[in-house]
Symmetry: C2
DNA sequence: GTAATGTTTTACCAACCGGTCAAATTATCA
DNA sequence: TGATAATTTGACCGGTTGGTAAAACATTAC
């Protein structure tokens, strides 16, 4: 018998494992470049190299596909922020946070664009995650930053806007890649641009957060 | 006779003027939140409060609407960068550039999202503008920044990445507004957040670009 | 091997999409 | 006023979209 996909609570087949992987990979490609509404199941099916009904056998709707993708990616996307360590040296913590975020922008640009599309379009599918888990994590790390400020280890500043600034500057290289390449021109568009960006951003944030004489 | 819209080279009617305005306003709403592919003519027509064929009487295709919108907005979008003045004081020039960009993010978030959507999705309609006029303008301003560095007025840094950083941090408040609001929570999501952002970003960039002792 | 289960395909549907057409309505101006 | 041009609308069209039904095919368990 053909059970509806959702009713199967038994352990998954090898084929299921493989195909779902294949589909999510293709869906990431398509959703990341066209957003949810701009993407079609046919497109995803073509990229995945399978027929549309076959794809719908694994994920019963386009929404289900998108949700599965978001769930899988959101968690790992926040890893760099989780590593932010209250016990560490503030400057080197911030420095390595920037570096990690920049590495993710370089190595996982599709994941970055998936979120960018989603948020840009009003986050209709992940609003709860934003106000829940994400806010919690950011609140926690903002508190860490605030403690560093109180301890006189970095300059006084709004920790939330600091985090926003790190997010935006790093993700910019994934989300606005075409623009960055367009402006830099062919000569400077190679992978070296990430090293240049890292150098610039580390300098900006490190000296931007340095304690100035007479301000304590 | 009913002339095709494009053939009318005569001066435009009062009604034409008004309706085209009305349509572009509605189109901005829709394109900004759903991207080009995710938007439908019916949607725009509904927002504009007119029938689809009527809308298509003024703009013959969806593409034409989008293009008209891009053309109108792109130019004014670059105004803040154009005001960047080589003769001015570097620190205050950068400071007011940040402020202007932030004001645009606050007052014209739809325009910002229109571009963000377009670029995020590979800039299929404005690639030429990116590699042409935009690159030219940025090249010119990068040269200005470089001259300030050479003159020892600000710290040594890559001018292009500096511009990217200002773009990304400021536009973040328009493009990722839902996220910003979600993380800040209801209490801090009011208009005051733009003042907080301005204060933070000015501090970051100003002290981030200060000349340090012993580095000249 | 065969029966049960899991997978894939073909054919299809209703809703929606961008866009056209011709007729109806309204504004302009001599 | 009436003729002319500009504007608006409802009906429609071919293609695409998300999704379904059922049967063919493959795999696994016994």
């Amino acid at each position: 018998m053909v059970l509806p996909r959702a009713a199967r609570t038994q352990r998954r087949t090898r084929i299921q494992e493989e195909k779902e992987e294949l589909i999510l990979e293709a869906a990431l490609d398509v959703f990341a470049t066209h957003g949810f509404r701009g993407s079609t199941i046919d497109q995803i099916a073509e990229v995945a190299g399978m027929s549309k009904p076959n794809l719908l056998y694994y994920f019963r709707t386009k929404e289900a596909m998108h949700r599965a993708l978001i769930d899988r990616v959101l968690d790992s996307w926040l890893d760099p922020l989780r590593e932010f360590d209250a016990e560490g040296n503030p400057v080197s913590e911030i420095r390595s946070y920037i570096r990690r975020k920049l590495e993710m922008a370089r190595d996982f640009p599709r994941e970055s664009r998936l979120f960018a599309n989603e948020i840009l379009q009003g986050a209709p599918h992940i609003e709860d995650e934003l106000k829940g888990p994400l806010k919690l994590l950011v609140d926690e790390k903002a508190e860490v930053i605030r403690s560093w400020i109180k301890a006189g280890k970095i300059a006084k500043c709004d920790p939330y806007h600091l985090i926003f600034a790190i997010w935006s500057t790093t993700q910019h290289y994934a989300d606005f890649d075409v623009q960055v390449r367009g402006v830099l021109g062919d000569e400077r568009s190679g992978e070296g641009r990430f090293e240049d960006a890292a150098r610039f951003l580390e300098q900006l944030f490190v000296s931007g957060l340095e304690i100035k004489e007479g301000s304590a």
